[in-house]
Amino acid sequence: MMPNTRQTGRLDDRPDSLHVIGNWTITHYARLQAQIDAFKTQAGNGHELDRSIDLSAIETLDTAGAALLIDLLGVERMAATMAQAPELPPARRALLDTMLQAMETPLTPKSHEISKPLAFLAQTGERVEDFWKQQHLLLGFIGLILSALVTNLLRPRRWRMTALVAQIQQTGFNAIGIVALLTFLIGAVVAFLGATVLQNFGATIYTVNLVAFSFLREFGVLLAAILLAGRTASAFTAQIGSMKANEEIDAIRALGLNPVELLVLPRVLAILVTLPILTFVGMLSGILGGALVCLLTLDISALQFFTILQDVAPHHFIVGLSKAPLFAFFIGAIGCLEGFKVSGSAQSVGEHTTSSVVQSIFMVILLDAMAALFFMEMGW
């Protein structure tokens, strides 16, 4: 006959002995714990366990129940009780023995807690130090990429064309649609803004110049770079990061190969090729968006629009395009570097992917501001 396992076990506190009765299993754990707490407060401290303990009425016992009992009685007391109970079935004795062994050593790990203000200070310090380490690491990584690039440049046999082309497709070709759409919309918005402001001066015709200037010099490259930072830097980090977590990077190293050459170079070169192309697409599409708004709301005909466009000096186009490779290099480097920093856990992959997007967008905008200053000073 199966014992009735639904009934929660209990402690029967008699004057001469303490009886442990019934089912001591994990399904009853919360209620058993409550009973033990009640027993402890009732018995008070000191003299509660000087009676003999009777385990013979236990019906079912599992590791959770055994852990509770041992926690209540203490390891030595439990061992002594078992020694005086020859009627204990051997299987149950073995379980209790195993649990005693497991609970002999202290279970609580040592933790060193520090006060909150101190922890805050420590955290701030760590953040600041992290930031510097980060920049240091990025510089070092850029050096690694450049040296790998130089050593491979003269050996066409080691160019990884397949990987490069695959990356160009993923980072560039597949992104053309979204880049074109986004810049088209922003182009239209800039034209609207320009028209609204310039109308007051009766100078709506300069909307054309506004759109052309802004897209050739800034928006084309900036929008494409930010999109790529969100789309591609995150992909680089996730790809390399999960390889790192799976020890694939270590395997590459152990095979005597260079992960920078194998994984980073194709990616960075691909993004170096694609960002200028995407920038060009972005410029065209933004100007088209502007032209459409001019045509529909400002009555500037397409012919007129493009005639004015011809007067805009071509060096603005060069200035805009010249920033693309710089942005591309940093986006690629940051994306790959964050991937290498991943440490095993799924959470770490997520953290570093976020960090790579934030960092690369930050870097793109910072570089753009610096470039704007530089070009202004140079009068270009």
């Binding site: 299993t25 994990i26 714990q33 590791t63 149950r92 195993t98 202290p106 609580t108 040592k110 095993g344």
Partner: protein, 271 residues
């Protein structure tokens, strides 16, 4: 040590898992075809077979991670696939599964990993669940300070142990172990075998043990099922299975490692 080895029950009441006519295929690739197998209550059943013979696929089908192409699998007398989500979750709570590579949650430390099913299913307070978790971690032979470490900081053997602790967290009735001793040092593997026997005897656990480890097979298993040619070639006591007339079985049990393991067991029985 009390062993059920000599009087393993064979009656219908004692069947815990009944697999009939199981077929599993992935596209063209047929893994199981008309596979029958019973797992009895309170036994340790070892599953052996060459690489790619579908041991892990069988395990995954039983615990319900993989819907079989055809056939039926009854666990505790009920067909998992036919149950409602709620009933199924209640049933699955009585399983403990140890995956081949541990499958610990990488964003939780060991203590949280083990406490997780306890918290989710039993609604204990966090302190109680963590106490239980630490007991389980110690039970599988991990030191106390490992409780706060994350899986990525641990060696493969420690991950195995922690994964076993998680599989034991709910004090399950059936344990499914996928190569539990692979990656453990011999001392750890022997301790694991002993722990398995103790738990089986004390809790009446049934164990479904996929393994390549001949020592584990000889020292713990009541019965052994050989998977070969898409079905169960034999499922019986070791002495019987050893003598099955099949090239793979012969090579497996009578290879140098098989002989060594058997010699070791026989000599320890004499002692």
């Amino acid at each position: 040590m009390v062993s059920l080895r000599e009087d393993t029950p064979r009656g219908d009441d004692h069947v815990l898992i009944r697999i009939r006519d199981l077929c599993n295929r992935f596209g063209e690739h047929v893994v199981h075809e008309h596979l029958d197998l019973d797992v009895y209550r309170g036994e340790i059943l070892g599953i052996v077979g060459g690489s790619g013979s579908g041991k892990s696929v069988l395990l995954r089908s039983i615990v319900g991670l993989l819907r079989p192409s055809a056939g039926s699998i009854d666990v505790f007398g009920e067909d998992l696939q036919a149950l409602s989500t709620r009933r199924r979750s209640l049933l699955e709570r009585r399983f403990g599964v140890l995956f081949q590579r541990g499958a610990l949650f990488s964003s939780l430390n060991l203590q949280e990993n083990v406490a997780f099913p306890v918290l989710e299913h039993l609604g204990l307070a966090r302190a109680e669940a963590e106490f239980l978790a630490r007991v389980k971690l110690s039970l599988v032979g991990l030191p106390a300070n490992a409780a706060l470490q994350y899986p990525s900081e641990l060696s493969g053997g420690m991950i195995k142990r922690a994964a076993l602790a998680r599989a034991l967290a709910l004090d399950p009735e059936v344990l499914f172990l996928d190569e539990p001793t692979a990656g453990l040092d011999p001392i750890g593997a022997a301790a694991f075998d002993q722990l398995l026997l103790t738990l089986r005897d004390a809790l009446g656990l049934s164990v479904f043990l996929v393994t390549h480890d001949l020592d584990t097979l000889y020292s713990t298993c009541d019965r052994v099922a050989v998977l070969s040619q898409r079905r169960v070639l034999a499922a019986d006591r070791l002495e019987v299975v050893e003598k099955v007339d099949d090239p793979w079985v012969r090579d497996y049990f009578n290879g140098p490692r098989g002989r060594a393991a058997r010699r070791h067991i026989n000599s320890s029985k004499v002692d």
